[in-house]
């Protein structure tokens, strides 16, 4: 009920600005108090059109389903068969994305290797080089070749099952890494050849090549160094997916890893995460179009990442033309990151379970994104590996369930025709019909 002023005139209801929201105002107050932009981990938190805006149609009279628990629905994928003597053979099309030792603890990296290996898939190093525990526990390990070249050495390169040349990542297309002083332990400092305790700003560009013509020569060098044995991936942020995919193929990549803006980072500016790049839903079709235009779809593999959480996301990515997906943030949650059991400690850090993203500060109560020995000791890599394996298995079962319902005996047989969109935006981005119509924005020859 409105109050009355002494003259008996009613007050209007206090009205919050849609422009200056509580969140925005807190950003302004924080900036004014510190003079430093906000740095955090994770991917875009804003709501963007996503795979949630797509639905599968399932079977009907025109298509008949496969029997669950009876009829086989294959999940295998081969990556890098185009040029490599030893392509990567995976049991499931869900891989673990690159996350650095440094950003993550050694035991957390070990758990990623254990879980991925038990589920029959690959894991990936990160900005900081390859650790023995990670190599030892990963049956298939992809070695990231990053602009910083921290910990880069040819011996590790030759131990890798594939090499991923990182050009960019979805959380920060055009940005380099950031590992702040709090997390630079003796071991991290030694691996990166930098003094302990300083802020490490990884380069955003490779130091010895620029552009697609140089990239072609860089790929040649890496192939010569590794005897043409292992696949070479090129990872790009979802900035200009049609052109970047085209140029990566032209340069000779065996696989293209494409990362949308929901994809996480260990640490970067919040303004970068939320305002640069494109949603994962929007980038897959242009990349597939580039592959098809060059006659390379299914020959050069497309690995999609950025906010993949469930078997439904996996199935939707594959229906739109991806060969496999990669998960990062979801894998950390499976390990125990942001678990409500640490709520009291999250509260003490001024946050709450699910919202904790100050991974760069090294105080992770779950002991995953830290180098603090006491916090690290809370995390059991064997149990973490078991949890990740379970999660990967569930995602696979979910994707198979959907594929069978669509009458597909392999996840790769899912197709755009199996999908409809719930919103105009999603219809336009995924180039599948708006539900209840045979039309999507931009489609020629049809009217609404």
């Amino acid at each position: 009920m409105n109050k009355l002023d002494p003259q008996g005139i009613p007050h209007t209801t206090p009205r919050q600005s849609a422009t200056f929201t509580h969140d925005i105002n807190s950003d302004i107050r924080r900036a004014a108090a510190t003079g430093i932009y906000d740095i955090r981990g994770g991917g875009a938190k804003r709501k963007v059109p996503s795979f949630d805006d797509l639905l599968f149609l399932g079977a009907s009279i025109s298509r008949y389903p496969l029997e669950g628990y009876r009829e086989k629905c294959e999940t295998t994928v081969t990556i890098g068969g185009l040029n490599a003597e030893n392509p990567i053979e995976l049991d499931i099309p869900i891989t673990i994305a690159g996350m650095s030792f440094g950003a993550l603890s050694g035991p957390a990296k070990e758990a990623l290797g254990r879980g991925a290996s038990a589920a029959g898939t690959s894991t990936t190093t990160g900005d900081g080089g390859m650790t023995p525990e990670e190599r030892g526990h990963s049956s298939k390990l992809v070695y990231q070749y990053l602009p910083s070249r921290y910990g880069m050495n040819p011996n590790d390169l030759r131990k890798a099952d594939a090499i991923e040349i990182v050009v960019g990542q979805g959380a920060k297309p055009g940005g380099g890494g950031m590992l702040l002083g709090q997390k630079i332990s003796d071991r991290v400092a030694e691996m990166r050849n930098l003094p302990k305790g300083i802020d490490q700003r990884s380069a955003c560009r490779h130091p010895d090549w620029t552009g697609p013509d140089d990239l072609e020569i860089k790929i040649l060098e890496l192939r010569e160094l590794t005897g043409w044995k292992v696949p070479i991936y090129v990872k790009v942020a979802g900035a200009r997916p049609y052109y970047d995919t085209t140029l990566a193929i032209k340069a000779g990549a065996d696989a293209v890893v494409l990362d949308g803006m929901q994809g996480g980072t260990a640490a970067t500016q919040d303004v970068f995460i939320e305002h640069v790049g494109q949603p994962t839903l929007a980038i897959v079709r242009p990349a597939v179009q580039a592959l098809q235009d060059l006659g390379m779809h299914r020959k050069v593999q497309l690995i999609l990442s950025g906010g993949i959480r469930s078997g439904a996301d996996v199935a939707k990515a594959m229906a739109l033309g991806a060969d496999a997906v990669a998960i990062g943030t979801a894998a950390l949650i499976a390990l125990g990151d942001n678990d409500p059991k640490w709520e009291t400690e999250y509260n003490a850090l001024g946050t709450t379970a699910g919202a904790y993203d100050d991974w760069h500060e090294g105080q992770d109560p779950a002991g995953i994104t830290t180098q603090d020995p006491d916090l690290m000791a809370r995390f059991d890599p064997v149990e973490g590996g078991r949890r990740l394996r379970n999660y990967l298995k569930v995602m696979t079962l979910e994707a198979q369930t959907i594929a069978r319902a669509c009458g597909k005996n392999h996840l790769h047989n899912l197709e755009p025709e199996d999908l409809v969109a719930l919103t105009m935006e999603a219809a336009a981005m995924a180039q599948v019909p708006l539900a209840g119509t045979n039309w999507y924005p931009g489609k020629s020859g049809n009217s609404f």
Binding site: P195, I198, P207, D208, I217, E221, L225, G227
Partner: protein
């Protein structure tokens, strides 16, 4: 001496032959003729062998070198000796951009000039250039030594960490957080040792040392203008 005509053997077969040399090979001397500016010549070597390329090379010659000595009797293309771990590369002519990028160890000697971004992100390599180096040399250099007997271009040592730069001639400009340093006895001794190892006759006292002012090691809003 083993002799390979690259125009006949081809890159893959040649590199495979060189990679096949073990720690204890008795075939320690190799000569490559007709390189014709090819890329990735003798990259990824890991044996105590000496390879001499008779002519100019393209990108990434002797990339990621370990143990081997690679002599280039000509000029060298971009990224020569990138990420070198150990061993030695000697370029008789000029070197293009990104020489020794991210090199972790070993030595690179250039008898001529080196282009821009020489020693970019160097992580322990020693680079000795008899002539001049181009702009942005040793950008983000982490450790190791860059010795230049001639002049350095713009923005030397920009955003460098603990790498040391010894310049005999003029420095057109210093990069962010790079400053002139005192040349103490230990630096004169180190420089003499590097020059001796490179086989270059120069007087260490004629050089000036530069390195990180260390003001950008941890973020401070008052330094925002430097970025």
């Amino acid at each position: 001496m083993q002799k390979i005509d690259l125009s006949e053997t081809g890159l893959r077969a040649m590199n495979k032959m060189l990679h096949g040399q073990s720690e204890h090979t008795n075939q320690t001397t190799w000569e490559i003729v007709n390189p014709k500016g090819s890329h990735a010549i003798a990259c990824g070597l890991d044996a105590p062998i000496e390879v001499t390329v008779k002519g100019s090379t393209g990108y990434y010659c002797a990339g990621m070198n370990q143990q081997a000595t690679v002599n280039i009797h000509g000029s060298a293309g971009p990224g020569t000796g990138e990420n070198i771990m150990s061993g030695k590369i000697v370029i008789e002519g000029d070197a293009s951009q990104y020489l020794g990028a991210t090199g972790h160890g070993g030595m690179i000697v250039v008898k001529g000039n080196a282009s821009s971004r020489c020693g970019i992100s160097m992580k322990g390599v020693n680079i000795v250039v008899q002539g001049n180096v181009g702009h942005m040399s040793a950008f983000m250099g982490q450790s190791g030594n860059l010795v230049v007997c001639g002049d350095a271009g713009d923005a030397l040592g920009d955003s460098c960490y603990e790498a040391r730069f010894f310049i005999r001639g003029e420095v057109k400009s210093l990069g962010a957080d790079c400053e002139k340093k005192e040349m103490r006895e230990e630096h004169l001794a180190l420089l003499q040792q590097l020059l001796d190892e490179a086989g270059i006759d120069a007087d260490p006292t004629e050089f000036t040392r530069y390195g990180s002012a260390r003001t950008l090691y941890n973020f401070d809003v008052d330094n925002a203008g430097a970025y």
